[in-house]
């Protein structure tokens, strides 16, 4: 299984973390610090796998962001590389040429996307189209509800003038 997902910038800033195994707050900070040190210092030609504490961490760099996923020792590393790419492509489709700034200001949306791809550290959906469809459907639900709410508050605001 995937134990956690980590998105860190080149400067070591954390953009997204998702934990599928129990780690306390303190442990999480420690893990992030260790892995940042380990991964950010690796050269570009080296392989995308790092052995760490008996686990394997698969990472790939996309522009200024490192996407890292920590897996168990007996998992398929090449597949996880594909899962990372799957995630990035879906984000790209959703945000339209996604860049780091998108993920900073719309981090909650990035989480929504991730929750449609992974649950319990396992892959949920292999079709990018399906994921996009589901997210869009939920977004429109939210939009609709917001419109309804704003129209009501409009009415109230006007009524109380």
């Amino acid at each position: 299984m995937i134990n956690f997902v980590l998105l860190i910038s080149r400067q070591g800033k954390v953009r997204l973390t998702k934990w599928y195994s129990p780690y306390t707050q303190k442990e999480r900070t420690k893990v992030i610090r260790e892995l940042s040190g380990l991964i950010l210092t690796r050269g570009p030609k080296l392989c995308n796998f790092v052995e760490w504490r008996g686990y394997k961490v698969v990472y790939r760099r996309y522009a200024s962001l490192y996407f890292c996923m920590c897996i168990d020792a007996d998992d398929n590393e090449l597949e996880v590389l594909e899962i990372i790419h799957h995630f990035v492509e879906i984000l790209d489709r959703y945000f339209g040429s996604v860049c780091e700034l998108d993920l900073i200001f719309n981090f909650h949306k990035a989480y929504y996307v991730l929750d449609e791809i992974l649950i319990a550290g396992e892959l949920q959906e292999s079709s990018k189209k399906n994921v996009a469809r589901l997210i869009a459907a939920q977004d429109s639900l939210v939009e609709a509800a917001k419109e309804e709410a704003s129209s009501i508050s409009n009415i109230i605001a006007q009524a109380t003038k």
């Binding site: 790092v50 090449l78 594909e82 892959l123 292999s126 939920q138």
Partner: protein
């Protein structure tokens, strides 16, 4: 999160807060922004402000991601989840997953909301609940809500189904007992067409198999056919844009199914046979120019290696392996090394063929590849290739990076030790490793080396000369210095006189003074470590006895440490100085060659020392199963000088063995193991805890196998002269023990009396009498003479015999041994051998008290 048109809006937009935080130049500025925002959010929460709940929750999550505490927001999550609308639930569940984890008790409060949401009519809300449950539920929640999830697994909506399947995975992980509840629905869902559902359900099946044997059997029976069909369909399918990755349709599904096939086929011939064809098809048809294809091939090979595959299939797998290994892509090579580890179990020959490539990988630029390759090399080592492979590794050790050196050194040392029958080779390798990477060599490794050197008398000369040479060149390596200094101290005369030269050696010209120089240099310049310096001092002391002309010079060197701030060194310096100056008479016997360190007991101690407990009260049961002990080196040697327990509270006890050995080596072995020490002392009252320890130490062969680690957590430390036992176990005290047992004549071949033991301090003689007509009975008179100038009081003598012997010990004539041989104490004992003709060993020990050399009383046994 747009600007609300409400004129009463308070606080900033999410976007603005993020901007403000990013714009902060210092940490305190950021803290100020965060503090302000938190205050606003706290106010909003306590007022129950409905309008900006989303925004506030989002802000809270961002602040949490920065690392600030956000506990006050947890209840707000719960409230949002309990709200009616979808948007609130959505952000509420996200907040829950981010701000809480399964260990928090607050989580339990959500159970009810979750239950309601799992039964909601809106499938997206159901989805939210399943997602949250699947990501962070605890074991209790899992148990509570499992029935709901089971039901949802059978829903019509594929989105719900797939989420339910993954949620079930977490439930089964937390509560494996529930596995059987899910297996029926899981097997049913294999027939689905939706890929998302299939991926999730197949993964669920794999998890179920891990959790429960019953589930494994069930799924094996019901799913294999379906799996083969799925794989066949997806492999043969035409281009499907929705699932296509690099020209392959849904590689994820391929891989999941292959993994499940592995779990089901492992150990089951029928299942393996069934999947044979499809595996062959996947292995041959899959394109391997892109990562997706390689991922599938990787999984396929792993599966083939694990199930009961046909040889044709295995050959296919090994070919793929070979291709991967020579691929230029680092990822693929890494993965290939992984595959090779698994292939070792299946076809060692095939792996051996790739030995050269693997060795290349050990030197690769990528540290991950190097580590994998090194592990693989270690597995590949066998008797035929151990020498060339070790040579390669040692050569590489010279040029490898510092951080890799440690792993490499550890591996080389364990390889060399495992194949250490060829002692010369072992010594050569160890000397090289010590020279190149001595600082990384662990203590027990060089301890073992010393044990071996002390046993291999024909190689001692070679060892000490090689070490002397190495010391000149590689003095910075701590362990090398220690081993070298110890050897020079012990076998100094071999260096100087080129004793026992081997054919491969060239003679060295080393004078006594050179040898002392070397040790002095080690003491003063190279080593910083206290242990090493302590060892140097001891070595110098030994040399002062071996090379008498250098004695004065050595004294000068030793004296320099008299004022050393480290207590250990100061103490040694003063004591050794005193020995050199004033105790010429006993010095040589004090510093005789150390008795051979017993390898067998060292090995057992080493194995047991990992438990790292020191038991002062040893159990008296010591019967060892006969086969468990091998006496290495085939040397029938007198038992080594008894080993005082450094951590023993009565550290003053330094027992001396006297024993009569038999001539027959096998009987020696047998008797060693046959001794039951509970019968041992018939005199001297109940054995105290100390005595037990001493007893056990005497019977080298009778180490209990099951427990009771030997009393020294260090390895063998020979006896000490003084009563000042160092408290730190890792300091190896290398002083020779009291004179080791001199070779003892056999008592059984003759009736003439023998001198069982003689040293500068004590002489013990045995005389024997057999009564005519009672050949089984032997009466012995033991006579003790005290040769020191001090009277020895509280004399006590004990003896131990095997079970089939009866021993009767008469009281001694006196408990005081008068000084300077003015009279002796006698004691008689009578021994009856029930198995007349059977050799046996008599083991004895004695205790005395006398005044110490430096004025205080000490117990000397």
């Amino acid at each position: 999160m747009d600007l609300s048109i409400n004129p009463f809006s308070s606080g900033t937009r999410l976007r603005d807060m993020i901007r403000a935080i990013r714009a902060s130049k210092t940490a305190s500025e950021e803290r100020a922004v965060v503090r302000r925002e938190c205050a606003a959010i706290r106010a909003a929460i306590s007022e129950g402000d409905q309008d900006y709940r989303h925004r506030n929750m989002a802000k809270l999550m961002f602040i949490h991601m920065l690392g600030y505490p956000t506990h006050f927001g947890q209840m707000e999550c719960l409230k949002l989840i309990a709200a009616a609308g979808f948007p609130e639930k959505r952000i509420g569940y996200l907040g829950l997953m981010l701000l809480l984890d399964e260990r928090q008790e607050v989580l339990m409060l959500v159970t009810n909301s979750l239950k309601q949401d799992l039964n909601h009519s809106n499938q997206f809300i159901v989805g939210l609940a399943l997602c949250a449950l699947g990501n962070i539920c605890s074991a209790e929640m899992a148990r509570d809500l499992a029935p709901e999830v089971e039901r949802l697994l059978l829903s019509r909506d594929p989105n719900t189904k797939k989420k339910a399947a993954l949620c079930s995975i977490r439930i089964v992980r937390k509560v494996p007992d529930l596995a059987e509840n899910f297996m029926g629905s899981a097997a049913e869902n294999i027939k689905e067409k939706h890929h998302g559902v299939l991926i999730s359900v197949v993964q669920l099946c794999t998890e179920l198999c891990k959790a429960s044997k019953e589930a494994l059997e069930y799924l094996r029976k019901h799913c294999v056919e379906g799996l083969v069909r799925i794989l066949r369909d997806v492999t043969n399918s035409s281009y499907a844009p929705e699932y296509d990755i690099a020209g392959i349709t849904d590689p994820f599904l391929h891989i999941r199914v292959l993994r499940l096939m592995r779990t089901l086929g492992q150990g089951d011939a029928d299942c393996s046979e069934y999947v044979n064809d499809i595996l062959a098809q996947v292995a041959t048809k899959t394109e391997s120019n892109k990562n997706a294809g390689n991922a599938i091939l990787y999984e396929c090979v792993e599966t083939i290696m694990s199930i009961e595959a046909t040889s044709g299939l295995r050959v296919l797998a090994i070919n793929i392996l070979g291709r991967f290994l020579s691929n230029r892509d680092n990822n693929i090579r890494y993965v290939a090394l992984n595959m090779l580890m698994r292939a070792m179990a299946v076809d060692t020959q095939a792996v051996q063929r790739h030995r050269a490539t693997i060795l290349e990988c050990v030197k690769d630029a990528d540290v991950s590849i190097r580590k994998r390759a090194l592990e693989l090399v270690y597995l590949l080592i066998n008797d035929t290739n151990v020498k060339p492979l070790t040579k390669e590794l040692v050569d590489y050790l010279e040029v490898s990076d510092e951080d890799f050196k440690e792993d490499l050194t550890a591996k080389i040392c364990s390889i060399v030790e495992k194949f250490s029958e060829d002692k010369l080779w072992y010594l050569d390798q160890m000397f090289k490793v010590l020279s190149l990477a001595g600082n990384f060599v662990k203590d027990d490794v060089w301890h073992a080396l010393i044990v071996l050197i002390s046993n291999a008398s024909e190689l001692q000369g070679y060892s000490v000369r090689s070490l002397y040479k190495a010391l000149q060149a590689y003095g910075a390596q701590e362990s090398l210095v220690r081993v070298a200094v110890w050897c020079i101290g012990e076998y100094g005369e071999m260096v100087v006189n080129n004793i026992n030269m081997l054919d491969v050696e060239e003679p060295v010209t080393v004078t006594e003074s050179d040898a002392v120089d070397a040790v002095e240099l080690a003491l003063k310049r190279y080593s910083v470590d206290v242990t090493t310096r302590a060892m140097c001092l001891v070595a110098l002391l030994k040399l002062s006895s071996r090379f008498p002309p250098t004695s004065e010079r050595i004294q000068e060197i030793v004296v320099q440490n008299k004022g050393n701030t480290v207590l250990e060194l100061q103490q040694r310096s003063i004591e050794f100085n005193s020995i050199i100056q004033r105790h010429q008479s006993i010095k040589s016997s004090l510093l005789e060659r150390m008795p051979v360190l017993d390898e067998a007991s060292y090995l057992m101690k080493r194995a047991a020392s990992s438990q790292a407990t020191v038991s002062l009260t040893k159990s008296a049961t010591t019967a060892t199963p006969a086969g468990s002990l091998k006496i290495p080196n085939g040397v029938v040697k007198p038992p080594a000088a008894p080993l005082p327990d450094l951590l023993d509270l009565n550290s003053d006890d330094v027992p001396v063995t006297t024993s009569a050995t038999t001539t027959a080596p096998d009987n020696f072995l047998q008797d060693l193991l046959g001794i039951d020490l509970t019968n041992s002392s018939t005199a001297g009252g109940a054995p105290s805890a100390t005595t037990d320890i001493l007893m056990d130490l005497l019977s080298i062969g009778s180490f209990p196998v099951q427990n009771g680690p030997p009393t020294t957590s260090n390895f063998i430390t020979p006896g000490q002269v003084t009563k000042h036992a160092p408290a730190t176990p890792q300091v190896m005290d290398l002083l020779d023990g009291l004179p080791s047992s001199t070779p003892l004549p056999d008592e059984n071949t003759a009736y003439p009396s023998i001198t069982a033991f003689q040293s500068a301090t004590l002489k013990i003689t045995f005389s024997f009498k057999k009564q005519p007509g009672k050949p089984q009975e032997t009466t012995m008179h033991v006579s003790f003479t005290n040769l020191t100038s001090v009277a020895l009081t509280d004399f006590m003598f004990q003896a131990a015999v095997p079970k089939f012997i009866q021993l009767r010990l008469d009281p001694a004539s006196s408990s005081i041994l008068p000084a300077s041989g003015n009279g002796s104490v006698t004691q008689s004992l009578s021994v009856t051998n029930n198995q007349h003709g059977q050799y046996y060993k008599l083991m004895c020990q004695g205790h005395v008290t006398c005044l110490s050399l430096s004025g205080g009383p000490w117990i000397w046994a």
